[in-house]
Symmetry: C3
Subunit: 104 residues, 3 copies
């Protein structure tokens, strides 16, 4: 009864959370997980002008399990088109196998 | 000297942490990682009655590296049987390759 | 335009963050993500002498997307050589496919 899925991971700036959640919901995903994150991207700094390391978790990592790769790509394309010209961010996918969930 | 492993991921409500850790320990896993998390599941809300986004990390994400898929399935089955009728949660596995560890 | 990558994951003690970031930078990686973490390793306790669960996130999880497996191995080898005799830690890699990023 397990189900192959794509795990889409989005790491970007915290202030984008609500807008990204809206994109995820509208794509039809059944859920997502948000975690605090810091780090450094290829521009060396976040848009705030300083790197965030240690206890300064000014970024977020969002994970979305999607039933197929197409939904993951669609969400990623929309996020990149809307935000990645102006904000730091990266999206990637990994394979996952869902074991138990409410109604995944 | 690397070792193929299964990474079991459990995202659920924070109040279950101690009971889940007990299940992980009893299954013989050598360790686990716990992270704060928020998000939304397929029931739309957590059992607290409200979604948790932003700085409200009322959930946890637990990762367990197991030497084989069977141990990951056993832990997941036990957690789902004990808690997922009453609490929000999801479990999934990913492939991982352990490079360095104390005694993994 | 997606790109296969290796995701290197390092879970270790928070006090090592700056030194590990230096190793990542010197290896030529374009970025990394840092998250707060707790947990238990195969030594049962962290070097502080007590397990960290619940809200006690005294460890960190660092994720580095590298363009190839060799760079991930090089970073992992360096971290293990410098720190894993004295500190708790584990490193592992997963496959990932980068969808969008600034200049990954």
């Amino acid at each position: 009864m397990t189900q192959q899925a794509s795990k889409l991971v989005i790491v970007t700036e915290k202030l984008l959370l609500k807008q990204i959640v809206k994109i995820i919901d509208e794509a039809g995903a059944t859920g997502y997980t948000v975690m605090p994150a810091g780090g450094k991207g290829s521009r060396n700094v976040r848009s705030s002008g300083q790197p965030s390391v240690g206890d300064n978790f000014s970024n977020i990592k969002i994970e979305v399990l999607t039933a197929n790769r197409d939904m993951a790509l669609k969400i990623s394309d929309e996020i990149a088109a809307q935000f990645f010209d102006d904000y730091s961010g990266i999206t990637y996918i990994c394979d996952a196998e869902v074991l138990h969930a409410h109604k995944f």
